[in-house]
Symmetry: C2
DNA sequence: ACGCAGTGGTTATACGTATAATCAGTTGAT
DNA sequence: ATCAACTGATTATACGTATAACCACTGCGT
């Protein structure tokens, strides 16, 4: 009942062959010369015993683990991130790698890197905020071939996948101005986890607004009705708002309705993410959808390159995201 | 530049001691007799080399891994699940375990179990739908001490953590009847991932409704405005609706408003989850909040028990969730 | 008869770690 | 002076796997 897990040696004994033969058969190594009947005997014995190889032992022997670690706890969890993760998982497992999420207790920097390094992964993907130069050095020293930072800006120390937040802001602001807005506001969330991305979206909006001669107000907003109500004079002064995302847009539309400000009559509104709730709002919400469908396969390919080559890659970045405007009634 | 990762033997050489001494010092084993100065030398050498132990080798030697796998892809991701996961992570790492999310490519049954078993985890938590009897046997055979099913109902084959969905439905229905509703409806989502939980919530609501002599209509609803509009005669026939969760409640409130049905005047509405959007709806949404704050520490303790004892535990279950009614304006 | 290539395996070893077993010195009690 | 107990280490080994190196045997051309 409480026996030890069967090993390849157990399989070998049952099949009447040597342990080496078992290894050759089960991994079907190209060069191995084993007769078909022996192969069958080995496979059957493995099946009977319920043999499952010991990943740790294999890693120890080969020096490579096939394990890819991803730490998502910098990146906001949403349907978007989940879907992307699933697809990435599929792409990587197809290539023989195992994708595993490991947040490392919200550690960051070197302590987080040490925790990851213990597992001797072949690649680590982590929020840019968790990877400083020393942390990357720890990972490299532990044999991690590919270190990729995920975040809003590219990293100077390693390859990275950056989300083009500025592009989102630019798209939203451009649309508002196209609709005739003469003064606009852009929301920057006050929440620590979101503020940085808010700043980036703001900067993109600001760039477009300046280029087209439209004044832009920055609105630092905590996610609460009181917070939104406290800025009522801001919303009354402008005729267009980029609300950072759909949740904030819903918050604002609720508060504006209570205050008697008409959307889009008095102020046009644009969100981001194209959440299901966007079409449920009245008026229906114009939003920026981020198309990430191209991202998993691109990232998987890039990872494969990085893991195969010997030298650590020069820091570069890809941003395989495509912001698309979905125009509805609120703008 | 591309050197191999430093081993405990490298540390030993630099410190001028044996590899065994390094192991004793870095794990500071209670019985080990090593002088303080030697300890210091070893620690310094390890620091200098950036030594990180090799988890695979350690697992191989000791036979235990400290790795706990959780597969969340049955359980719906939301702020609730995320928060719970973080707290569970904290509880387990405090006890010396490493919590890792591993979805296993959405495999289920034996194939998923084999993938998990390769890592020789000490515990596996997975959606009840992924764990059939054979899968559990595979895990047990691979030395997994604790196998815990997560889901809406208890498992006959292993310990489980069940969410008391029936209790949620009962609480919501009881509240509606308290408010004077004489005929109520309960939403069951048509989405494959949610339907089962919807059935459980429905059953709880039905139990209470029958006990109090109130007719209850089941409403199978896909998440779309067309779907909700197609059932308009249902909503018109009842004076209370338990909407499964807040998202569905928002969908219904939007459609009902468009159709001229007043909430709560014509029909009272109760959601579930207490999402931020619940307070942003007009009228503000009455909802069932699930208090999961007690869950992580309870689960961690239970896991610890299971992992320490030798015999596989008899299937039992805990449901450390506390549904709480949050009454607002919609009911 | 002899080498020689091909077939179907086996033997031996290393990966990095934890730990039981051992050992050389030193101290202390009698 | 002798033995026991303690201190501070070292030596040796096993965990499960992959793979290089080796080996016995058969068939075959000369």
């Amino acid at each position: 009942m409480n026996a030890k897990p069967p090993t390849s040696l157990d399989v070998a004994r049952l099949a009447g062959v040597s342990q080496a033969t078992v290894s050759y058969v089960l991994n079907d190594r190209p060069g191995a010369r084993v007769s078909d009947e022996t192969r069958e005997r080995v496979r059957e014995a493995a099946e009977r015993l319920g043999y499952v190889p010991h990943a740790g032992a294999r890693t120890l022997r080969t020096g490579r683990s096939g394990l890819i670690l991803i730490s998502m706890d910098d990146v906001p969890y949403g349907p978007l991130a989940i879907g992307m993760l699933e697809e990435l998982d599929r792409e990587l497992s197809r290539r023989g790698y195992t994708l595993v999420q490991y947040g490392a207790r919200r550690l960051r920097g070197v302590p987080a890197a040490r925790a990851w390094a213990e597992l001797r992964p072949v690649a680590v993907l982590a929020g840019a905020g968790k990877l400083d130069e020393q942390a990357v050095a720890v990972l490299r020293s532990a044999g991690v071939k590919a270190v990729v930072a995920l975040g809003a800006h590219s990293s100077a120390v390693t390859a990275s996948v950056v989300v083009d937040h500025a592009g989102i802001g630019a798209l939203a602001a451009g649309h508002l101005i196209d609709r005739g807005c003469r003064t606009i506001a852009a929301v920057v969330p006050a929440e620590p986890g979101l503020r940085e991305m808010g700043e980036h979206r703001l900067s993109g909006a600001r760039r477009v607004a300046e280029a087209r001669g439209v004044p832009l107000t920055r609105a630092d907003l905590p996610f609460s009705e009181e917070g939104a109500a406290a800025l009522l004079d801001v919303w009354r002064r402008v005729d267009g708002v980029f609300a950072y995302n759909d949740d904030y847009a819903m918050l604002l539309m609720t508060v504006l309705r209570d205050a008697g400000v008409a959307v889009p009559g008095d102020v046009r509104m644009v969100g981001c993410d194209d959440l299901p709730l966007a079409t449920l709002l009245r008026p229906r919400l114009t939003t920026v959808r981020i198309d990430v469908s191209a991202m998993p396969s691109l990232l998987a390919r890039r990872l494969e390159e990085l893991m195969e080559q010997e030298a650590p890659a020069e820091p570069d970045h890809i941003h395989p995201w495509n912001p698309v405007l979905v125009v509805r009634e609120s703008s």
